[in-house]
C-alpha cells in the first residue's frame, strides 16, 4: 500500500531571469502527511502548483499518482483533491448545494451529507456560503476537496485565518483524513501545525530543500534541551558560564540561552548558583527544540551563502 504518491527529481522553475525553484528532489509515500514548509518566496507555491497541474515546470521529472501533472487527464483529476491558498466558494449557494455541484464533477463522489458532517458544517448545511465565517468557508473548501473521494489531497495553508479552536478542529479533521488512508501534501506557516500533523517535512529556503525527514530526524525534540532566561543587568554572562559545565552560552543583552544534553544537571548548577548569588533568573524557560526552532535556524537570512 506504500505506493509512491508523489515523486520529484531535479525540479526547476524559472520566471524570466528569476529561478524560483533550483533543483528539488523528494518523494511522498502513499498514506503519509507530508509537510512542505518555507518562508514566503521560498518556492512553496510554485512547487505545489506544478504538482497540482496548474503550472509548467522548466525542467526536472515529476510524477503525481503515476501521471505527469503537466499533462493532466480527467481520471487523474478525479483522484486529487485541492484546497487552494486563495479560493472562495460561491457565496450565493448553500453549503449543501456547493458540495452537490462539485460532487457531480467526479465519477465516484462521497455522499454529500456525509461530507458536510465530516467538515463539521452539519448545522450550517442550508446556510449560504456568503453568510459563513472565514473559518467555516475554509471548511467548505476542504469539503469540496474531499467530495470526489480523492487518494491525494493538497492542502495549501488550510488553516490561515483560523482562530485557535477552529485550528484544533481542522487538525482533527486532517488526522481523520489520514486515518481514511489519504495522502496529504500540506503547506502551512504554522510550525506547530506542521509538527503536529506531518509524518515528514521538507523545509525550503530560496528554492532549495535544506532539510527533509521526520521531524525528530531534523532535531525536533532532540539535539539537547534549550534553556533560556534573563539575567539582571550588571551580572556578566561569563558568571553563568563559569558555573554551568560545558554550556555554550549565547547571550544578547540580558537574554541568555544555552543548549544542554543533560538538563537536570545544568539546571541544578544554574539555579543553585543563582540562589547562592541572589541573582534572579527572569523568564526562565526550559524546552526541547520545536519544529519552529529548527525552521528558524534553517531559514535564517544571515545563514548560509
Amino acid at each position: 500500500m506504500a505506493e509512491t504518491a508523489i515523486s520529484v527529481s531535479g525540479l526547476r522553475k524559472s520566471y524570466g531571469d528569476h529561478e524560483a525553484v533550483h533543483g528539488i528532489d523528494f518523494e511522498v509515500e502513499g498514506g503519509e502527511v507530508f509537510g512542505y514548509l518555507g518562508t514566503n518566496g521560498a518556492g512553496k507555491t510554485t512547487t505545489i502548483e506544478i504538482l497540482e497541474g496548474y503550472r509548467e515546470r522548466t525542467s526536472g521529472e515529476v510524477s503525481v499518482l503515476g501521471v505527469d501533472p503537466a499533462r493532466p487527464t480527467r481520471s487523474w483529476r478525479a483522484r486529487i483533491g485541492l484546497v487552494l491558498q486563495e479560493s472562495e466558494p460561491d457565496p450565493l449557494l448553500t453549503v449543501r448545494e456547493t458540495l452537490d455541484l462539485y460532487a457531480s464533477f467526479f465519477p465516484r463522489p462521497r455522499p454529500v451529507d456525509d461530507t458536510v458532517d465530516l467538515v463539521g458544517l452539519g448545522e450550517k448545511r442550508d446556510a449560504r456560503v456568503g453568510t459563513l465565517s472565514g473559518g467555516q468557508r475554509r471548511r467548505v473548501d476542504v469539503g469540496v476537496a474531499l467530495i470526489g473521494d480523492p487518494d491525494l489531497v493538497f492542502l495549501d495553508e488550510p488553516t490561515t485565518g483560523f482562530d485557535p479552536a477552529a485550528r484544533r478542529e481542522a487538525w482533527n479533521m486532517i488526522e481523520g483524513l489520514k486515518r481514511l488512508g489519504k495522502t496529504i501534501f500540506l503547506t502551512t506557516h504554522y510550525m506547530e501545525e506542521a509538527q503536529h500533523l506531518s509524518d515528514r517535512v521538507a523545509i525550503l529556503r530560496a528554492g532549495r530543500i535544506v532539510a527533509l525527514g521526520r521531524p525528530e530526524e531534523l532535531g525536533v525534540g532532540g539535539g539537547g534541551t534549550v534553556v533560556r532566561f534573563r539575567i539582571p543587568s550588571g551580572v556578566p554572562p561569563d558568571d553563568v558560564r563559569a558555573h554551568v559545565d560545558g554550556a555554550e552560552l549565547e547571550a544578547s543583552g540580558n537574554e541568555v540561552s544555552f543548549r544542554t544534553g543533560n538538563p537536570q544537571r545544568a539546571l541544578y548548577q544554574l539555579t543553585s548558583w543563582a540562589e547562592r548569588s541572589g541573582v534572579e533568573l527572569a523568564a526562565l524557560d526550559v524546552r526541547r527544540p520545536s519544529l519552529e526552532d529548527v525552521f528558524l535556524e534553517l531559514t535564517r537570512e544571515d545563514g548560509a551563502s
Partner: protein, 276 residues
Amino acid sequence: MSVGAHPAEPGASARRDAALVLKQTRYGLVKTTRNPRVLVFSIFFPILLLVLFNSIFTSGGDATTKFAGGRIDTDAYFTAGILAYAIMMSSFSTLAIGLTTRRESGELKRMRGTPMPAWTFITAEVARVVVQIALMALVMMLIGHFAFGVDLPGDSAVGFVVYVALGTAAMATLGIAITAFLASADAASTVAPFTAVILSFVSGVFIPVETLPNWLEEVGRVFPLYHLAEGLQTTLVSGRSGTGLDGGNVAVLAVWGLAGLLVAARRFRWEPLGRD
C-alpha cells in the same frame, strides 16, 4: 490502482457530461435568482425602462418613427430596442462581471482542478443566459402587447426568435471574450454595463436612430447592439410579411459572435490576470 480505470463507454460518458451541463445550468439559474445585482440590472431595470420609455415618448400609441426597416409604431420600436438592451445586459454584461468575479475569487481555478470538462462549464454559462433571456423576451413582449398595444410578431416570429438567439449568442461570446482584457471584477462591473448604456444611445435603443446625427449613427452601426435592435424592430413592424430577417444585420451579428468566440477560445483565463 491504475489510472485509466474507466471502461470505454462513450455513451455513458456523454450522458454524464450532458447531466453535468444541466446541473451547472440549474445552479447558475438558482444563483441568478439570489444575485441582487443581476436581478436589478438585467431584469428589473430593463423592464422599468420599457415601461418608462413607452409611457413618456409614444404619445398614447399614435407616434411612429422611421428606420431602416420602414415606419414603425414608436412603442414597438422602443419595446424591441429595450429588449436588445436587456439581451446585452443579461448576456454580455452578466457574463463579463460574473466570470471576472469568479476568476478573482479563485473559484474558476478551483473548478479547473476538478475532472469537470471546461466545455460543460462554458456551455452551462451560456445555457443559463439563454433561459434567462427567453423568459425576459417573453415577459417584455407581453408587457409591450398588453400595456402598450404592441403587435406580437406574426410571419416575422421566426425572424424575432432568430435575432434573439443570434444576439444572445454573439453578446455571450463577447462577454466571455472581454474577460481576457479586464484585470479585475471592479473593472468588469464598470466597463460592461457602461458599454451597454453608451451603445444604447447610438444604437436606436434609447433614442430613435432617425434623430441621431449621421456620423453618430455610423458609429453605432459598427457595433452589434445596433443590428440586434434594428433586427428586432424590423420583426415588430406591424402587419409586415416575411421573416423580417435582413442579411446585413444577421451578418454583422454573426461576425461579432465569431470574433468573440475566437478570442474567448484563445484568451480565456481561469486564473486571476497578472500572474505567471
